[in-house]
């Protein structure tokens, strides 16, 4: 079901508040930005509108960034009426017609985040200032998402986050101009805990290895909270440097600690290397406290799981979306993407594609590119047909609430893409939480002019 909350009165009210705030707040950007505006920054002139795709094109997440970019290009093609339309055919809102956005042909520029907050801000700033991007989207890291979201808030541009899993993005660091479709650490913990309880029992002792940065902390906290609530004990939680490549020094003592579960709060290369070390040290075959030793990876990425090879077999984790889902939206997206590129899309590609369509749809429903109008159209928006079942873009924190997938490394993969099997689709209600628990203030939307 689609529903628009956008009203003319609401837009005027928000604009007035934002205008006052903009006058009162120090300006980060040069006044020259205000040139040529029509009540908001970078109002499209002529018959085109420019979107800014800010993805890691270099650095350790470059492959994930490349997949994001493929998805964005596909979304632009579909928005402009090309291809088979993909998820536009299954999206519950029917505002998108393949005629661009608000009749303007969609063009795009790209930036390289390098998975570094400073570089990501610089590339986003360049796309906004030099290329006139009306919206910034993308990224594969929470550090980058939080940094770029803050910049977009200051500039007065909508930020549609890419792959970012930290609670903080829509928690303590949430912004009125920022929106996240991807799930978060809390949801991973809430979805995983019951499955782990069923599979491994409630009398377990967990040892956490946690990447020493923001995302690692929130993921460890989420998994600890939900597993301890069902009876697990946490015997140790050790922070590991983000730049660590060989985890032997951290994995070697695990068996002697009295633990019988190892939770790897690692992502990307960290996950590949720590899981490889854990398997090498025989933890998958080990016994502890009279039970089989188990390993858990709270956040899975198929692209990263490929790097760990057969080490992922039988290991539980969670993911935002998987190409093997059989709902109509997922099937349409996999078909479009697969026929264009020859392989199935990743979860990063999925969330980026969906975010682009959601932005375009919000603009159509709002009848404007004004960030405040689009924000209002997205807040409280309920939709379906985008691969995760009925979804709500919650107004209070701009976080999407939808089903979460609990997955397991497949024992007998039939192809190089067939690495994870879906164990359970956890309903959205089970992973929903009170918006106030992570603190932070949305503030007011900033139209940038």
């Amino acid at each position: 079901m689609s529903k628009s909350n956008f009203t003319r009165r609401g837009l005027l009210k928000t604009s007035a508040v934002a205008g006052g705030a903009a006058l009162a707040a120090p300006r980060f950007f040069s006044p020259s930005w205000a040139d040529g505006h029509a009540g908001y920054l970078n109002a499209p002139q002529g018959d085109t509108v420019t979107l800014g795709f800010n993805v890691p094109q270099s650095g350790p997440y470059a492959d994930e960034g490349a997949d994001e970019l493929r998805a964005y290009e596909l979304a632009v093609e579909h928005l402009n009426g090309g291809g088979d339309g993909g998820m536009m055919n299954t999206f519950s809102s029917k505002a998108l017609t393949g005629n661009g956005i608000l009749g303007k042909k969609v063009e795009y520029v790209t930036g390289d985040t390098q998975t570094k907050p400073d570089a990501a801000r610089a590339s986003a700033k360049s796309m906004i200032e030099k290329d006139g991007a009306i919206m910034i989207t993308g990224g594969s890291s929470s550090g980058v998402a939080v940094a770029v979201q803050a910049l977009c808030q200051e500039a007065g541009i909508i930020f549609m986050a890419g792959l970012t899993h930290s609670n903080d993005t829509t928690g303590k660091d949430k912004k009125a101009n920022g929106f996240r479709h991807f799930f978060n650490s809390y949801m991973s913990g809430a979805a995983l805990a019951p499955i782990l309880g069923n599979a491994y029992g409630t009398n377990r002792k967990a040892y956490h290895l946690t990447a020493d940065y923001n995302w690692g902390y929130t993921t460890e906290e989420a998994v600890r909270t939900s597993t301890e609530a069902m009876g697990w004990e946490t015997v140790a939680a050790v922070k590991t440097p983000l730049a660590q490549t060989d985890f032997k020094d951290y994995v070697a003592p695990v068996l002697q600690s009295g633990a019988d579960v190892l939770v790897l709060n690692h992502y990307g290369g960290n996950m590949v290397n720590s899981l490889t070390s854990a398997v090498q040290f025989g933890l998958r075959e080990a016994q502890a406290n009279g039970q089989d030793f188990q390993i858990v990876v709270p956040l899975y990425s198929r692209l990263m799981a490929k790097g760990a090879g057969e080490n992922v077999k039988g290991i539980f984790g969670s993911t935002n979306w998987h190409w093997s889902l059989t709902d109509e939206g997922s099937k349409a997206f996999v078909k479009s993407f697969g026929e264009k590129y020859g392989f199935p899309p990743s979860q990063a590609a999925h969330t980026c594609y969906v975010q682009t369509l959601l932005y375009a749809d919000a603009a159509e429903r709002a009848g404007t590119f004004n960030p405040c109008g689009i924000g209002e159209a997205l807040e409280g928006f309920e939709f379906d047909g985008m691969g995760n079942g009925p979804t709500l873009y919650r107004a209070e924190d701009h976080q999407c609430f939808k089903d979460v997938l609990v997955v397991k490394g497949k024992e007998n993969p039939s192809s190089e893409f067939d690495l994870l099997e879906i164990v359970e689709v956890t309903p959205a209600a089970q992973v929903t939480y009170d918006a106030s628990i992570f603190g932070g203030e949305l503030g007011t939307c900033n139209p940038g002019a």
Binding site: K248, M304, G307
Partner: protein
């Protein structure tokens, strides 16, 4: 006690990789006087020799299997390695399974060639330039090499598992009289340690017991005099650069089952390897090996949970703290010689 033995093993294991890379760095510095920041890239290229051999061994032709479907619902295209057609399924599986050890044979000529081309093509032009220039050009070369690897192999890690015979762990504790399953250590890491020891011993034996090695050592001590005796020391030093590249490459080949290769792995080792060289003493081969193991063991103990709880963050800085302490008390490093990099 068990924990100490385990961390000691872990430290020796980690130290063996540091020692191998630092050994190659010191060989180049000791002979050519060049500070080679591209040495980590040679380690990385060695690892990708394994990946390349894997890809060669698994070069395939496509067979359509109508009984299975791909992700789009079309008949599945099954990749059948050519080698399977030639030697049969089980022999092909065994050869592919042993691709990491086989890659040693593949990497030796490749790394020797790369080393010689690097030295003759670029680095020899910087012998008489300041160390800062050498660092800049070799660091630039390292970036170019890793970007080339990323272009061809992508940014994600690529798994290169050990042969099945070396998977799993060895119960080391039982050998030492501990209870079973108390001190277990992965077979492949023990293999890596033994391999590193053999390579290090081989390099020392080569320098100590061959005429070639004797000339090189003489050249390291007094290049001019060796030249005056009519010996073309430059040619021998070029060969030493090639040898250093082979040592780094083999360290990379054997490291692939420990950590899946990625284009950035050389940089991850580079800084720490330079610390190892400086702590060992610039130009000292035994110093590089000793420092590699000492710093590996220190890092292992600093990563213990009890130590981190007592001194948060110590695991991230212990190597640099140790370097500061050693250089303050022994400014030339553990086994450094007077006159090296002091002019």
């Amino acid at each position: 006690m068990e924990a100490i033995v385990l961390q000691l093993l872990s430290g020796l294991d980690g130290g063996s990789a540091y020692a191998l890379i630092a050994l190659g760095l010191t060989l180049i510095f000791g002979t050519l006087g060049v500070v080679n920041f591209a040495h980590g890239a040679l380690f990385m290229i060695g690892a990708f020799c394994t990946v390349t051999l894997q890809r060669i061994l698994t070069l395939s032709h496509t067979v359509i299997d109508d009984t299975q479907k791909d992700f789009l619902g079309n008949p599945l295209k099954v990749q059948v390695p050519y080698i399977q057609d030639w030697v049969g399924e089980s022999a092909a599986a065994s050869i592919i399974d042993w691709s990491v050890p086989l890659a040693i044979l593949f990497a030796i000529p490749v790394m020797l060639l790369i080393g010689i081309i690097m030295e003759r093509g670029l680095i020899k032009h910087f012998y008489k330039r300041p160390h800062a220039d050498q660092i800049l050009v070799t660091f630039g070369l390292a970036i170019v090499l890793q970007e080339i690897i990323k272009y061809f192999f992508g940014a994600n890690p690529i798994p290169a598992p050990a042969p099945d015979a070396f998977k799993g762990s060895f119960d080391f504790g039982v050998l030492l009289g501990f209870d079973p399953n108390v001190i277990i250590y992965p077979y492949w890491r023990l293999v890596y340690f033994a391999f590193a020891a053999i390579i290090i011993a081989g390099v020392f034996a080569f320098l100590q017991f061959t005429t070639f090695g004797m000339v090189v050592r003489a050249g390291m001590a007094d290049r001019e005099t060796v030249g005056l005796l009519g010996i073309d020391i430059d040619k021998r030093f070029t060969m030493m650069f090639g040898l250093a590249a082979v040592v780094a490459g083999l360290a990379g080949v054997m490291y692939t089952p420990i950590n899946s290769p990625n284009y950035h792995m050389g940089m991850d080792f580079l800084v720490i390897s330079f610390v190892v060289v400086v702590v060992g003493g610039m130009g000292s081969l035994p110093g590089a090996v000793l420092a590699g193991f000492v710093l590996g063991i220190l890092q292992s103990f600093a990563s213990m949970r009890e130590v981190i709880e007592f001194l948060p963050g110590i695991n991230q800085v212990v190597i640099y703290l140790a370097a500061i302490v050693i250089l303050l008390t022994r400014p030339r490093g553990l086994l450094g010689k007077r006159g090296v990099m002091e002019d």
